[in-house]
């Protein structure tokens, strides 16, 4: 059985014991009063009683009625427990008043009912401050509402006065019933407290264990944080390297191929060569602007919003102008705005692929196809260059892979010895941020 259920059963058992004791006491007060009158001993009883006795016929009715109300209040507490703590507290306050009244009707001769009350508070009042406060009130009632203490100031007849009316044998018998029941009540109460304590100790143990686990996890987390800081640094360095490679590599490749062509042209046609050199100068200037922009970006760590498609169109137009290579751009689907990091990655990948096709593949024609799907972005870059049987990934291709991986995308390179090189990119679209 669950510990909590066990404690509640015990609580009800204490209630039943109290009901028995209170019924026993009140019925005896009632019975003895009439017995005294029957024996014509009322006058001498009053002499020894010292105080005006309560009306005996009301005592069993009131006390048992109050006990029933206490029972109903306990049943109610079971149902409202989780829902409203303040109703529980209010009903405990009502319980305290009921217990004081019961104690009064029994001439303060029985105070075990306050143990039941203490058990109720321990079981049902969750707010720790209020629980302690209510327990203190109960404790004070337990101490003060005692016949021996109160008889000095209050006018009451003790239960003992009634018991003393009987001859020795009956007295012993009545006292032993009262004492056995009272002791049983006390023992049950202590047992209940013991069970509660045990549950609390168990709970504490689990709590401590969890606490330890949490500590370990926390330490791990700290280590992770340090590591990821290192990783971030590394990544930043790599990015820097990529930027430098992309921008300078692209411009310098353009300049190198342009110069190569110009050197050959110088001997054939000086004017055309001169013209070509002007174009190369333009590329060099453009590269400088790119370098400056890139440095600026790194400095402020914020990305200027590219319009991706116009940027790519511009890139392709430049290629078509100053080299013999012809680049075609095809766009499918509805063009969508993407996050800055995505757009920049795509731009860089396209830029790198085109540069590679010109530099390594000596391609005459390059096709760039960008398809916007609902969930993903497809990019295919194909050229008619020399191709290669085995792809050896240099700095550039590795960086493309890395960049795409960061966007959770995939990249695929294909080439044959017959010529041609294909780069296929699949980038998932992050809908969550799509409308940022």
């Amino acid at each position: 059985m669950d510990n909590k259920v066990r404690v509640k059963y015990l609580h009800w058992f204490i209630y039943v014991i109290n009901l028995l004791i209170i019924a026993f006491l009140s019925i005896n007060i009632y019975r003895t009063s009439y017995r005294i009158c029957y024996d014509f001993k009322a006058r001498s009883f009053l002499e020894s009683a010292q105080y005006l006795p309560l009306v005996p016929s009301t005592i069993p009715i009131y006390t048992v009625f109050l006990m029933l109300v206490l029972g109903i209040s306990t049943v109610t507490k079971n149902y409202i427990n989780q829902k409203n703590r303040y109703i529980v507290i209010a009903s405990v306050v009502v319980d305290i008043v009921i217990c004081i009244y019961i104690s009064y009707y029994l001439n303060y001769s029985y105070k075990g009912i306050f143990l039941f009350l203490a058990a109720t508070i321990l079981l049902y009042v969750q707010l720790i401050d209020i629980r302690i406060f209510l327990l203190i009130i109960t404790l004070i009632s337990y101490i003060l509402l005692d016949y021996d203490l109160l008889s000095v100031n209050a006018n009451i007849v003790s239960f003992q006065n009634y018991i003393n009316y009987y001859p020795e044998q009956v007295r012993v018998y009545l006292y032993s019933i009262k004492n056995i029941l009272t002791s049983l009540n006390e023992i049950l109460f202590f047992f209940l407290v013991f069970l509660l304590l045990q549950a609390k100790i168990k709970e504490n143990k689990i709590y401590l264990e969890l606490n330890n686990q949490l500590k370990v996890a926390n330490e791990k987390l700290e280590n992770y944080a340090k590591e990821s800081e290192q990783i971030a640094k590394m990544k930043e360095r790599n990015r820097l390297a990529r930027e430098i490679h992309d921008i300078l590599g692209h411009s310098l490749t353009g300049i190198a191929t342009g110069l190569e062509a110009s050197i050959e042209l110088l001997e054939v046609n000086f004017e055309v060569a001169k013209n070509q050199l002007f174009k190369i100068q333009e590329i060099a200037k453009k590269g400088l602007v790119d370098v400056r922009r890139s440095v600026k970006e790194l400095k402020i760590d914020a990305i200027e919003k590219y319009e991706l498609i116009p940027a790519i169109e511009k890139l392709i137009e430049e290629r078509n102008q100053f080299s013999n290579t012809n680049v075609t751009l095809v766009i499918e689907g509805e063009v969508m705005r993407m996050n800055a990091d995505e757009e920049q990655t795509i731009y860089r990948v396209v830029q790198e692929s085109v540069t590679n096709a010109i530099r390594h593949g000596k391609a005459h024609h390059i096709w760039v196809k960008i398809s916007f799907g609902y969930y993903q972005l497809d990019i295919v870059i194909t050229d008619d260059g020399v191709g290669c049987g085995e792809i050896s990934k240099g700095f550039g291709l590795t960086h493309i892979e890395e960049r795409i991986k960061m966007l959770n995308g995939t990249v695929e390179f294909n080439s044959t010895t017959d010529g041609g090189f294909t780069t296929k990119l699949l980038i998932p679209i992050r809908w969550g941020n799509a409308y940022d």
Binding site: S33, Y34, I36, C37, F40, A42, R43, F45, L46, E47, A49, Q50, Y51, L52, P53, L54, V55, P56, S57, T58, I72, V75, T76, Y79, N155
Partner: protein
């Protein structure tokens, strides 16, 4: 759970319905205010009485008529003899069913005051403009006091005094010196009349019947205890003079115990007497029952060495239960019996006692009285007696302490023990009892 909530609410509804029915019932009952009056038949002096209840029946009829708009009903249980009254009332109290207003027996007053049975009347007296406590004989009014509380109101009073067998004194040629009416004078007359008149070897003519040590003690100018009963108040000297005097008186009879019928036969010179006895045996109805063979008249108690002529004042006190449900009506009824002139006149006519209301007594003085009544109802004689009367101390242990005194003093007198060492012993046991 739903089922239990249902059951719970049904219980609550049933409880409320029961309370409602009770309230409705008691509300309907409230339309008739019924108070109970506790009375006994017979009297302290065992004088025959034709109809004890006549005065109460008439008073109740008049009282009920005073409430034309409200139905007020006063009930009483007839047939309780005075000897059974104390136990009867005690049983009612133990059961919580005591009458609203009742006659307080003198021996019950202290006990019931101590247990808090009586309603304190001071508030009623203060708030009732139609009530003036100065109308009462102060001594009689004070008899209803317990500490500073007013628990009783006097309905009738009975001053005590002595009567003297004039025929016997005349036969012995003795004249009472009224100017010098002291213990010594009293003793000398007693000594002179105590003799064996028919010379059969046994004393057959005596001095006094019913004169006890406390009758003598109070005429010696002292009191036994402090008002709260916590201290012994008397001077050793005063008590020792009293005991010495009683010893001398005791020795006169040489061990013969004087019985009441000796006075009836005309063989005792003095007898302690009360006004009701006097009136009964001087009335036309009972004149022939007793004391018919000699002339007799009233005389105050003789003065002690240090004191005045003082005698005990008996009163009939009415009290109200502190648990009465109709205290206002109960108060009106008490006031009606003790204060209303027509009822107070009935006290004089129907109970042999003197009314507690002084105005009524004044009217009686100036009305037509028979010869014997005139003999004792001289204002200066009665007023003197009432004014100098003592009342028994009002504290719970008084009866116990009085018993200790009675027993010890009787032993000192009867066994002729040393008085001063006897008083030391008495004081010790009194003190032990007080401190218990």
């Amino acid at each position: 759970m739903k089922k239990k909530v249902k059951i719970g609410s049904i219980i609550i509804v049933v409880v409320l319905a029961v309370i409602g029915v009770f309230e409705f019932y008691s509300y309907n009952n409230n339309k008739v205010v019924e108070i109970e009056f506790g009375v006994y038949s017979g009297n302290k002096w065992k004088i025959p009485h034709v109809d004890t209840y006549k005065i109460y029946d008439e008073a109740i009829a008049l009282f009920e008529k005073q409430y034309p708009h409200m139905k007020v009903k006063v009930t009483y249980r007839s047939g309780t003899l005075m000897d059974d009254y104390s136990e009867w009332l005690a049983q009612k109290i133990v059961k919580g069913e005591e009458p609203d207003v009742f006659i307080i027996l003198e021996e019950d007053f202290n006990t019931y005051s101590a247990i808090g049975l009586f309603e304190d009347l001071r508030n009623f007296i203060k708030e009732d403009n139609t009530f003036n406590k100065d109308m009462f004989y102060k001594k009689a009014f004070d008899t209803g006091k317990y500490g500073d509380k007013q628990y009783g109101l006097p309905m009738g009073i009975a001053p005590t005094f002595m009567i003297v067998n004039q025929t016997l004194l005349d036969k012995e040629n003795i004249e009472i010196d009224k100017e010098n009416w002291t213990w010594d004078t009293f003793y000398n007359i007693c000594r002179a009349v105590t003799k064996d008149s028919d010379s059969d070897g046994e004393i057959d003519q005596f001095g006094v019947y019913g004169y006890e040590w406390d009758d003598a003690f109070y005429t010696n100018g002292d009191v036994l205890f402090s008002d709260n009963g916590l201290k012994i108040a008397f001077q050793n000297e005063n008590l020792s003079e009293t005991i010495e005097f009683m010893k001398r008186m005791y020795v006169l009879n040489k061990g013969t115990v004087v019985k009441e019928n000796y006075f009836d036969k005309g063989n005792v010179a003095f007898k302690t007497f009360s006004l009701p006895e006097y009136r009964a045996y001087t009335s036309d109805t009972y004149r022939l029952l007793r004391y018919k063979n000699f002339e007799w008249r009233s005389i105050p108690f003789p003065k002690g060495i240090n004191g005045e002529s003082v005698s005990k004042l008996d009163t009939i006190q009415l009290g109200m239960s502190s648990r009465s449900k109709h205290k206002d009506v109960a108060w009106e009824f008490m006031k009606f019996l003790t204060y209303n002139t027509s009822i107070q006149q009935k006290v004089w006519k129907d109970t042999y006692m003197l009314p507690a209301n002084t105005e009524v007594v004044e009217a009686i003085y100036s009305s037509n009285l028979n010869k014997e009544e005139k003999n004792v109802l001289q204002p200066e004689f009665l007023n003197g007696i009432i004014e100098h009367a003592y009342i028994d101390p009002r504290f719970k242990k008084y009866q116990e302490l009085k018993n200790i005194l009675d027993q010890n003093i009787f032993l000192i007198i009867a066994k002729d023990k040393d008085v001063s060492s006897g008083i030391v012993a008495i004081k010790r046991s009194l003190r032990e009892n007080i401190e218990q």
